[in-house]
Amino acid sequence: MSEPDNTAAAVNDDPSRRDFIYIAAGATAVGAVGAIAVPLVAQMNPAADTLAMASTEFDLTKVQEGQQIVIKWRGKPVFIRSRTGAEIKAAQDTPLADLKDPQTDADRVKAGKEQWLILVGSCTHLGCVPTFGAGDYGGWFCPCHGSHYDTSGRIRKGPAPLNLVVPEYDFLTDTRVKIG
């Protein structure tokens, strides 16, 4: 900076210099507000320990045919259902045209393991836990606002827009799965 010239005339004579200072100061303030907002907003997002959620292993011999067991994974329920032959057939025979969110049963289970249906037990409407075995399609019924799911966990009737979500999972052995 050169010697400041503080006479009124000098200030008035140089409007562009004034404007520059205003704009620069304003831009700095906006930048500062943004920089302050980032941590204040971001702290609400899942913390590192929440993100580092462990995967869960499960022993399938605990589930009897025609039953399901509910386990907790990432704070949410996961359904592990051992389907009967009739339930599998009903799911496979459903024409895609009847579905709100068309997906074949084969896409929702692992090949050769059709007996095992593993789903996030969270209604795709507003997140209630659907009731096992109830509803018009023998799969699940969500008591909150009346969504009916079939034996493949696909939405058939009611306000839910999508099928129950299939989480990522792998068979470690024939009787052990790892979810997540």
Binding site: G75, S122, G127, C128
Partner: protein
């Protein structure tokens, strides 16, 4: 504060000293003592005072409860039970706080319906009305988060359902939901932040209440005749006339409050909330607290998820727009022979929506009555009854309000408040 000149005369030396530095006594005097009040106010006008009492009760009992409550998923439920069993007078303070929320909403609904009936939202009181709507919205948010804190079954699954509403927004809904919950499900992070916000929001409400009263004192109070104050003849001093009338109403209101607190403290709650939260099992019948049932019913009336959310928020948004939806020149429905009937139906519909919100959508309204399927549900079901009510709710604001206002032939409106009072007086005398 308002356009009436200040009549405060500081008497003592201290008052004079203070008045020239911070005229706070003058402000209080002009606002609550010598404030000119329409002389025809009826008891429906006492609910503003009642609501201030409600807010004070909630803040005081809430601060005390926070001294004993633990916002942790493992301890929250037990800490509430400890308040009920072990903390000295804890049962009393918690029951006052829990029933206080219901009383607060009871009073605010009457206050809002009073404003609706007497046209208190019309020029020059639009800003006053909108500030009131903001308070109402903040009350809903506060009450919802407060209901989550005991971490019972209804608390937990209510929180799941309501936060998931946000998730239905296309594209950005998912990330916002995770941000709001602080994880992938309602959990510790959610409970902790709800506690923080539940403590904060009542003070925000108190701030908006101050603006609400400020706006009230700039525009002046509306009154049952719906004509503005024309002369000093039309008014009485706020103190003692309005203060005492408010006082009587507050005492009666506190009687009702006490009946709930001491004789039926759980009548308005839900038994399921005395079961500790279990993320793996949803209660068979999940309902919000009674005061949110009408909005919950509107949410369920729409077959589409995002559409339901829009309708629910829309049902609150239309209240904000009310000053511009009503086209009538006449404020008070006393002089609106057609509109008042639509108002009566509106009140019944709101109660009906509340009733429907508590029922299972597929249940039959009239048991045994044969019916048929219309689109996606039986006609004789709460689903369709709710839809009917929802349609009226929106038609009332969006069509009836503007249309009747233009078509209706209002009754002769009195020239002044005094004239209205005298006419009524003469009528009574026969």
């Amino acid at each position: 504060m308002s356009d009436h000149p200040s009549t405060y005369v500081p008497k003592t030396g201290f008052e004079k000293w203070l008045d020239s530095r911070l005229p706070i006594v003058r402000l209080a005097y002009d606002s609550f003592v010598d404030y000119p009040t329409p002389k025809n106010l009826n008891y429906w006008w006492t609910f503003g005072g009642i609501l201030s009492v409600c807010l004070a009760i909630q803040i005081i009992t809430g601060i005390i409860l926070a001294m004993h409550y633990t916002p942790h998923v493992d301890y929250a439920f037990n800490s509430v039970e400890r308040i009920m069993r072990d903390v000295n007078y804890g049962w009393l303070i918690r029951y006052v706080h829990a029933n206080g929320a219901s009383m607060f909403f009871f009073a605010v609904y009457i206050h809002m319906l009073r404003g609706l009936y007497y046209g208190s939202y019309k020029a020059p009181r639009e800003v006053l009305w909108i500030l009131g709507c903001i308070i109402f919205f903040l009350m809903i948010a506060t009450a919802f988060m407060g209901y989550v804190l005991p971490w019972g079954q209804m608390s937990f699954h209510g929180a799941v359902v309501i936060t998931n509403l946000i998730g239905s927004i296309p594209l950005i809904g998912g990330p916002i939901l995770t941000w709001l919950q602080g994880g992938f499900a309602v959990d510790q992070a959610t409970l902790n932040r709800f506690f923080s916000l539940h403590y904060l929001l009542p003070f925000v409400i108190a701030g908006v209440v101050i603006l609400h009263i400020w706006a009230l004192h700039v525009a002046g109070q509306n009154n049952p005749a719906g004509v503005e104050i024309k002369s000093k003849e039309d008014t009485v001093a706020f103190t003692p006339y309005a203060t005492v009338k408010d006082g009587v109403a507050i005492i009666v209101f506190l009687f009702l409050f006490s009946v709930f607190v001491f004789f039926m403290p759980n009548a308005l709650g839900h038994a399921d909330n005395y079961i500790p939260a279990n993320p793996l099992v949803t209660p068979a019948h999940i309902v919000p607290e009674w005061y949110l049932l009408p909005f919950y019913a509107i949410l369920r009336a729409i077959p589409d998820k995002f559409g339901g959310v829009i309708a629910m928020f829309g049902s609150i948004a239309v209240i904000f727009a009310l000053p511009w939806l009503d086209t009538s020149k006449v404020k008070s429905m006393r002089y609106r022979p057609v509109m008042r009937w639509f108002f009566v139906i509106f009140v019944i519909v709101c109660l009906g929506l509340g009733w429907c919100g508590a029922q299972l959508p597929d249940a039959q309204v009239i048991p045994g009555l044969p019916s048929f399927t219309l689109f996606d549900g039986q006609l004789n079901s709460y689903l369709w009854l709710t839809r009917l009510f929802t349609i009226y709710y929106f038609v009332f604001f969006l069509l009836i309000m503007p249309w009747i206002g233009l078509k209706e032939e209002p009754l002769p409106v009195p020239a002044s408040i005094s004239e209205a009072v005298l006419a009524e007086h003469n009528k009574k005398k026969g």
